[in-house]
């Protein structure tokens, strides 16, 4: 049977999923301590119990997120996996496939070949995650990483960027999970690595 997802990609995918879950839920609790906008996140979807607990989770899970992300990217870039799966990608094909996806007309015969809408979404998610880590670093250390923070409009600008990258990534996750629900065999494939019923 054909391996759709290499073991390293599967392991880092699930470690990342867990890290993102913890980062987002603890992050929402941190947001609630001093909301940027006129709303707060319901306590039921936050993590940590109170601000100090949420900060502990956030600054523990960040190491998991970053180390795991670096392993995934290093593997993807040096093995060529990332290039092969994500490139080439043309804006025209992307629009075409997004349009098809909206009409429920995307082919999933070969799960190891991504359509252009998938490529764009996965590359976008990687970019958002990198944006989250960089803006997070700027918020955490606006003095030590002053150059980075000033690129984002200093501390307050980095806070906004962090929030918007989070929003983008959460939207990605919602679409991603909805797509997996529509094509459930992709879920098992990300666990076993193989295509079970072709």
């Amino acid at each position: 049977m054909k391996t759709v997802h290499p073991l390293l990609v599967r392991v880092t995918h699930w470690v990342n999923a867990l890290a993102i879950l913890v980062m987002v839920m603890s992050g929402w609790k941190i947001y609630n301590a001093s909301p940027l906008f006129d709303f707060v996140f319901p306590d039921e979807v936050t993590m940590g119990g109170w601000l100090a607990g949420a900060l502990q989770w956030h600054f523990a899970a960040m190491w998991v997120l970053v180390l795991n992300g670096m392993i995934y990217l290093a593997y993807g870039l040096f093995s060529g996996h990332l290039w092969r799966r994500m490139l080439p990608i043309s804006p025209r094909a992307m629009l075409h496939d997004i349009f098809n996806a909206l009409r429920g007309r995307l082919a999933h015969d070969d799960l190891s070949v991504y359509n252009a809408a998938q490529k764009a979404a996965y590359l976008g998610a990687i970019a958002l995650a990198i944006g989250l880590v960089l803006s997070g670093l700027a918020i955490w250390k606006p003095v030590q990483f002053y150059a980075l923070a000033s690129l984002m409009g200093d501390y307050e600008g980095a806070r906004l960027l962090h929030f918007f990258c989070m929003t983008g990534l959460v939207l990605f996750v919602l679409v991603h999970v909805a797509m997996v629900a529509l094509v459930p065999k992709t879920f098992l494939t990300m666990i076993t690595g193989r295509l079970n019923n072709g």
Partner: protein
């Protein structure tokens, strides 16, 4: 097997898989949501989180560049009014009497003595317009003036190779910082805010202003300080907030 069922095997299985995925996905989500707080309270989990927080203290001490200055801003960017913040409400601000105020200096110092306000005011002062960042996330820019804390430490003959400086405050707050940060050129004993004598709500008679640390590491109404090698902890730190909390 029923031929009818067999005929529908594909779509049925797909829909079964879909339902299983959805219900498993939902219960996994619900589990993690429900246990969000409980997990934090579990002793083993809390031990790991505390250990990670300690690890982060080390990482931050390593990242801390004693020569790197916090950005300074023009006076026009000062936040007005500068927010009040403490572990109590603004109506409970402690009023310290300046005439019998004494600052106790103890621990690993050559000159253990109590300092009166006029003696402290006589020290050469510097000013800074820097950003105060609260652990809650908000920030505000203010102007503070006072002697460099490193000058004061040298004047009292502090053992600069010690690890910590601890602070006790008139409002029963307490905290402590690492010696590297204590010696940072922007760490000052702020006797003034916006060129005026520090008002009670900002910590009269003085607050330790540290623009390289989060707000709660900037003690107000300081009445005693001591140099030590044993971690003195802090009011919020002992409740679970990260000790180093540098920026």
């Amino acid at each position: 097997m029923d031929s009818k069922l067999k005929h529908h095997e594909g779509p049925l299985l797909a829909s079964l898989e879909r339902r299983l995925f959805l219900s498993r996905g939902l219960s996994l989500g619900a589990l993690s949501l429900l246990s969000g707080c409980d997990l934090t309270d579990d002793d083993n989990v809390q031990r790991v989180l505390t250990a990670m927080s300690k690890w982060n203290d080390g990482a931050q001490a390593w990242l801390f560049d004693p020569k790197r200055l916090a950005p300074e801003f023009p006076v026009s960017m000062v936040t007005d009014p500068f927010p009040f913040n403490a572990y109590y409400g603004e109506d409970e601000v402690r009023l310290v009497d300046g005439t019998d105020y004494k600052l106790d200096v103890g621990g690993m110092v050559r000159e253990r003595k109590a300092w009166r306000l006029p003696e402290l005011y006589a020290l050469p002062q510097v000013s800074q317009v820097t950003r105060h960042i609260c652990v809650e996330g908000w920030s505000a820019i203010g102007k503070w003036s006072g002697p460099r804390f490193s000058d004061f430490l040298q004047r009292v003959g502090a053992d600069l190779s010690a690890k910590y400086v601890g602070f006790k405050c008139a409002d029963d707050y307490y905290t402590s910082i690492d010696m590297q940060t204590a010696l940072h050129p922007q760490t000052i004993m702020a006797f003034k805010y916006a060129d005026q004598v520090l008002p009670p709500k900002y910590g009269f008679p003085w607050k330790l202003r540290i623009p390289t640390k989060l707000g709660f590491k900037n003690p107000k109404h300081v009445v005693a300080m001591f140099v030590t090698n044993e971690d003195p902890g802090g009011y919020w730190e002992d409740k679970g907030y990260n000790w180093f909390s540098g920026s």
